[in-house]
Amino acid sequence: MINKVVAGADEAISDIKNGSTLMLGGFGLCGIPENCIAALVRKGVKELTCISNNAGVDDFGIGLMLQQHQVKKMISSYVGENAEFERQLLSGELEVELIPQGTLATRCMAAGYGMPAIFTPAGVGTEVAEGKETRNFNGKDYLMEYAFDADFALVKAWKGDTAGNLIFRSTSRNFNPVMAMAGKITIAEVEELVEPGVLDPDHIHTPGVYVHRIFQGANYEKRIEQRTVRPRN
């Protein structure tokens, strides 16, 4: 097997430059690449374009990068819950492109599957359709949407092996596998890094061929955005 292991987050992201386009996995704060984000904040790269379903909260996730004014543009489906984000957006400091969540996921998949464009009905007849090609198939209109072109994908998995194979846990899977397939360089941080052969080949969600660098992350905070519980009887 081919060994994809790097020492840690700082090494993994060392060639991310000002102006790079990044994909960041996660839904809300669930399954986000915490260690990579911390390393990006340490490195201080700026002018980043971030493709991520959400933009974190003020003091966690991509919000940490926003605080340091590292993000030039966000491509997301939902960006609430973030006062600093709103301030930068209203001041014109930050550019935001809002796209439907399924379109976001499918444009990632398209990149990973070598498909230059896909068709989706999402957004037909709305301002999302402006400037896009609309095409009718079997009586229904679809928008043509292009595959993303990202320099780096930063994903977070539960377990991974040194060959880059990844397994995600529960709904922290979300955008991570499709972004892992889509990055020109894919960096995976995992809670537990194991030797090849430990993971069952049938259980692997992301084959190692898609992963260029892998490391075991540390100090996962895994913050919960909406703690909802029910009483015991």
Partner: protein
């Protein structure tokens, strides 16, 4: 006049045995509490889960297990997890039988606006545009009038659209209304104690209302 739970209760009666259902944020989430006993329904959460269970017991929250509203939840026996591309794949290929979501405005031809108010901070459409463009059966849960007393059931939406000609049923605090294929709201049921005239005055879009429209039976 119904409260939010009343609207959710009435919508729950539209859910049939064997349905896969996607519930939006707000009133639609409450619908889960009123699914009739003995009916087998699977809730989809578009962040990648089929078979959404109730909130966890206190102390059993799992940060890796949330719904599309970012709430901690649980799985059920028979649940499955998948990535976001597959989740919207099954939405687009109409495997979800029923979608229930909120709206700011609905028009008499079935257009919906629920994601953007010009001049206000826009948070995004999330998965709503995908859901309304693909679902074969969509019910909107909404207030009939806004806080200023203006109808939200309109001839034409004034806000930026989420989807076009996609809504077929609306349940409000006042009524259940079908949207006719040829256009127009058809009054199906009145909320308890609400008159047809009251509904007529609260509906700006074209309304087809029989004076004998029945009162809804909820419990």
């Amino acid at each position: 006049m119904l409260d939010k739970n009343g609207i959710a209760k009435r919508i729950a009666k539209e859910i049939k045995d064997g349905y896969y259902v996607n519930l939006g944020i707000g009133i639609p989430t409450l619908v889960a509490n009123f699914i009739p006993e003995g009916i087998n329904v699977v809730l989809q959460s578009e962040n990648g889960l089929l078979g959404m269970g109730p909130f966890p017991f206190e102390g059993e929250e799992d940060a890796d297990l949330i719904n599309a509203g970012k709430q901690t939840i649980t799985t059920l026996p028979g649940s499955s997890i998948f990535d976001s591309a597959m989740s919207f794949g099954m939405i687009r290929s109409q495997k979800i039988d029923l979608t229930i979501l909120g709206a700011m405005e609905v028009s008499e031809n079935g257009d919906i606006a629920n994601w953007k108010i010009p001049g206000k901070m826009v948070k995004g459409m999330g998965g709503a545009m995908d859901l309304v463009a693909s679902a074969k059966n969509i019910i909107v849960a909404m207030q009939h009038v806004n806080k200023a007393g203006e109808s939200k059931l309109l001839p034409k939406c004034s806000l930026p659209l989420t989807g076009v000609s996609c809504i077929r049923k609306v349940v409000t605090e006042l009524a259940v209304l079908d949207i006719l294929p040829e256009g127009g709201f058809k009054l199906v049921e009145r909320a308890p104690g609400v008159s047809v005239d009251y509904i007529r005055q609260a509906t700006a879009g074209k309304l087809f209302a029989d004076d004998n429209a029945p009162e809804m039976i909820i419990d």
